[in-house]
Each structure stands twice: as structure tokens, then as C-alpha cells.
Subunit: 311 residues, 2 copies
């Protein structure tokens, strides 16, 4: 077995993921937990990180490269946003050291779009982008990165030009937990399969109405009251409406360029967005989000001389 | 002072309003509380009602006419929905008795739109409509009734033909309390004034994008992070986006008919929707929502022979 070269950490708002990588970027060990920034600001970032490193027997001097909300102002150490247009290479080179730790730790910056009409920020997705740069080195591309806060990015030749955020995942969460729709969805919500008919019909409806799902949301409730709609149908419908609306809306913003999409996602979310984007008539290039962020972190470690060979 | 003829009650999900009216419909006393259906299913509808009647010294035999969620299946006594197309006169004549009470009590039914593509329901707004029938007796009209669940109704000659529900008020509540936007809006949220520039700009933006506010919601957060946006500006922006989106969406659904709107609302909500509808180029006829529901309840009491003269 090869020797560990670095630990790569994707530290989000509500999730923590760590990989121990060798000098070629191969995974030697992995940890996942829900100790995201929200937990870490209470318990301490350092103690959570060291506990996970100890659990995989990481050497005391293993350097750690981090991306995500750990670099937010309310996080561990602020890694100030890089302003658009931004080179992904520049982001990887801009890691901020975490001082006074027993080991070398650096946090990658996020991206800021400082425009009056569309201010926007990201932390973590820029590292996924850096991990899939080969997919969009030449020409202009639109990249869809679904999640709690979905990011759609236009990039060309390794430069991020514009991006926008949709609250799709969070809208599903707050509507299913806190709105009147919760009575129709119930407590035991699983994501629909990508060939679910209610999901596809709702998606199609949202696409057909240019993303306007205003009068469709309450229908999810009314169909339970009037038609004995099952909870799983209600959940699939809400999911389809929100994802379809996001895609219709993003295509309005990004125009014809969005006919060909680089989709960066994992698991069931990747399958759902894949189905929805195909329904919208898009051609897809798919990349796994976990692989992407790990590759981006490894690229940053290479630039720091911690692993691999500088190109 | 004239003698009390009836008590009229608008019993919503989260609010209770009672008026004691004389035989001409004039208000002799009024009670308002937050003892809506959600409270009443625990404490008991009867005890809440009797407590408020006792507080205004109502006679033991004063009859009570009720509309709203008290007539829901999960309410006091179910008053089954009347199916569209529905005559407002028929709704008023369809009050269901509450059995085994010390006094005569009737609850008005709600309305159901039993269509496969747009199932919808209302409870309470049909009584407001009945209270403003003179505003739309001749020809086809679109009526906007904003609230937690905004209802837009197409009616002609006293017949309700179609309606749709927008979750606008509830979306504002769940986004401002439970989503990441809460960090930008803060805890002390007051409705904006109707001439608030952030409200009008956001409204205009939503109207211009055909109601697509997908990428605009997260901007409310990003503008705080990047531009030190004040909480009241964030709240006015979110309010403008949601109300503007509702109007754009309703105009898509109801078409040219929605150029002239009967707006049924009270207080600050009425002023905000008034400003937003005028921004959208609509001509308005305005009616007060409280007056409307009270008039509708009084009309129902007249048909029961409890007050006034049968027409």
C-alpha cells in the first residue's frame, strides 16, 4: 500500500467529508459525517478534524487541504472570496493557512460575483470545477451543480465568468417540513426514482410554463384532499416541479449555451437531474461530484508541492 | 342601540374573528384572536366560541354563522365542499348545522375545483366573494384575494368558474424563518411600505421575468454577504419578488381578463398588492377583506331568516 500524502476535506454547511490520498491522488481512506460548519462552530473545527484523522491512523504531520464553508467568515479561518472573472488555477493557488495548528492546514477560497444586479457567492463548488477542468478547457460551457443551493456556472478556458444560485434543495426541505404541503408529503420522504411518472410529469409541466410553478405548489396539497394522492406521489411531484423550474429558469438565464450541460452530481440527485435535463432536451456530460471535489483538492495540493508533480 | 341579531365568525387556520351584528348588519361588537383551527382542535371550538360570546355579553340564544376552516374535515363539523362551477347564492344556502350546542350554529361550505390538472380548494374566501357580489354581477371578472394562501378567482354573474392558489404568504414565512435567507432578514420583520424602492424594484424584476424568481432568491442572501444589505431591504426585496411572481403567474393563468382586477384585501397587505398590481399595469377595484367576509356571513344569515329581509 502506498503512503498517505495529504488529507483532502470538503467541509460544507451541514456535511464533512475527508479523504486520505497518496501522492498520485488515489484514495487510501475516507470519512463522512454530518459535522458540517453548523456543528463545527460549536464543537471546534480542529477537534473534529483531528478526531477523523486519528480514526484513519493519519500521520501527525500529514498536511490537510480544505474547501467549503470552513473558509467562510463565520467558519474556521476566513479565506476571502476571489472575484469573478476568476481562473480556477488562481483559486487553487490561493489557499489560506490555518495558523497555530499541530500540522499544516490550508483552506481554499470561494468565489464572489460582485455585480449590482446579480450578486452571488459559492464555497466548495469552485473546487469541484477545478477538479473537472478537463471537461471544459476549450470554448464556453454551462455547468450544473445541483444541491441544497444549486449552482449553474458559465466557464471558458479555465475561467469562471458568471454563475447563479437556485435554492432548489432548500425549497424542497422547507416546504416539505414547514409548509402546509408537509401534511401531503408525510415524514418519511425518499427521493423519487428518475423514471417516476409523477416526477417526470411535474418536471415537464414546470418546463412548459417557463419555470412558473406558482399555482402548482398548492395543487400538491389539494390533490391529497380531493383525490387521495399518496405521500410518495406528492413528494415526487414537488421534486419534479422544483427541479423543472430550476432548469427552465437557468435556461432563460444562460440561453442557447445551456443546450449542452456539464452535470456535476452524485447518487440519486445526479440521476434525477440527469432525467430532468434530458426531458428538457439538453445534451449531457456527467461528472461525479465527489470525484470532482476530491480531484480539485488534490490539484490544489499538487500546486502546494504536497503531492504529485507540478505541471 | 339596536339589538344583536347574529354573531358572524370567520374561523381560519390561525385566526379567529367574531362580529356581533344587528338586523341591518351593523357591527355592535368585535373580537379578534389567534385561536384559529390549529388552537381550537386542541381546546375545543365550542369553548372558544362561547368565551368570546360571553365577553361581548351576547344573549344565550344568539345564532352564529361561521365560515372558514372550522368547516374542514379536521375542523369542528365538516361542511363538505361545493364543486365548481358554483353559485355564491348556493354556497350561502348550504350552511351545515353544528349539532348538540346550546345555541343555533351553522358553518358555510368551502369550494372545490375537481379538475385533474388543477385540483384546488378554498374555505372562507367564498364567503368574502359572496360579500362583494355586487362588484362582479355582470360579465366575467378576476378577483385577487391575497394572504398566506392567495386565491385568484374568475367569476361571472354570481358564479365562481375557476380559481387557483398561490402559497405567497406562506413562502415568505418559511423562507424568512427556516431558510438561509433568515440570516439576511433577521427576526424583526415588518411589511414594507407600498412605496418602498426595494419592494417595487424586486416586484418589477419578477414581473419582467414572467414570475421566474429562481435565481433572485439567493441574491437576497448574497447581497448581505457582499454589499452589507440591511435586513429591512432584504425583507422588502423578498416580499416584492414573491408578490411580483404571483401577479406575473396569475396573469399567465387568467390572461387578458386579469388587466382589470377586483382586489379583496385589508391593511398593509392590501396596500402592497395594490402597488404591485398597479406596477403590473392593472386597473383595480378595491374591497376590504374584513368588510367582505362580514357582509358574506350577514347575507347567509339573511337567507336563514336570522336577520334582515329575505330578498
Amino acid at each position: 500500500m502506498s503512503a498517505p500524502a495529504i488529507a483532502a476535506v470538503d467541509w460544507g454547511t451541514s456535511s464533512f467529508r475527508l479523504w486520505v490520498l497518496d501522492s498520485k491522488g488515489s484514495v487510501l481512506a475516507e470519512r463522512r459525517s454530518s459535522e458540517g460548519m453548523l456543528v463545527a462552530t460549536g464543537e471546534g473545527f480542529s477537534s473534529i478534524l483531528e478526531r477523523h484523522l486519528a480514526a484513519v491512523g493519519a500521520p501527525a504531520d500529514l498536511p490537510v487541504i480544505v474547501c467549503g464553508m470552513a473558509g467562510a467568515r463565520q467558519g474556521w479561518v476566513e479565506a476571502p472570496y476571489v472575484t469573478l472573472p476568476a481562473s480556477l488555477d488562481g483559486i487553487l493557488a490561493g489557499a489560506v493557512p490555518v495558523p497555530a495548528q499541530g500540522r499544516t492546514i490550508r483552506i481554499l477560497p470561494g468565489l464572489a460575483q460582485r455585480s449590482a444586479e446579480a450578486p452571488d457567492v459559492m464555497r466548495g463548488e469552485e473546487t469541484q470545477l477545478a477538479g473537472i477542468t478537463p471537461l471544459f478547457v476549450q470554448g464556453s460551457h454551462v455547468i450544473c451543480m445541483p444541491g441544497t443551493h444549486s449552482k449553474w456556472v458559465q466557464a471558458a478556458d479555465g475561467i469562471v465568468q458568471v454563475f447563479r444560485t437556485w435554492l432548489t434543495g432548500e425549497l424542497f426541505a422547507v416546504l416539505s417540513k414547514h409548509s402546509i404541503l408537509r401534511h401531503s408529503l408525510g415524514d418519511d420522504i425518499a427521493p423519487p426514482m428518475p423514471d417516476n411518472q409523477a416526477f417526470l410529469a411535474a418536471c415537464s409541466e414546470a418546463l412548459g410554463h417557463g419555470g412558473d410553478i406558482g399555482p402548482s405548489l398548492f395543487r400538491v396539497r389539494a390533490a391529497t384532499l380531493l383525490n387521495d394522492q399518496k405521500p410518495e406521489v406528492a413528494a415526487a411531484t414537488l421534486s419534479g416541479l422544483l427541479i423543472g423550474a430550476e432548469i427552465a429558469s437557468a435556461r432563460r438565464v444562460f440561453g442557447p449555451l445551456s443546450n449542452k450541460i456539464v452535470l456535476v452530481a452524485s447518487g440519486s440527485l445526479g440521476m434525477l437531474y440527469g432525467a430532468a435535463l434530458r426531458l428538457a432536451g439538453c445534451t449531457l456530460i456527467q461528472a461525479d461530484a465527489d470525484d470532482a471535489v476530491r480531484s480539485g483538492l488534490f490539484e490544489a495540493a499538487k500546486r502546494l508541492g504536497w503531492a504529485g508533480h507540478r505541471s
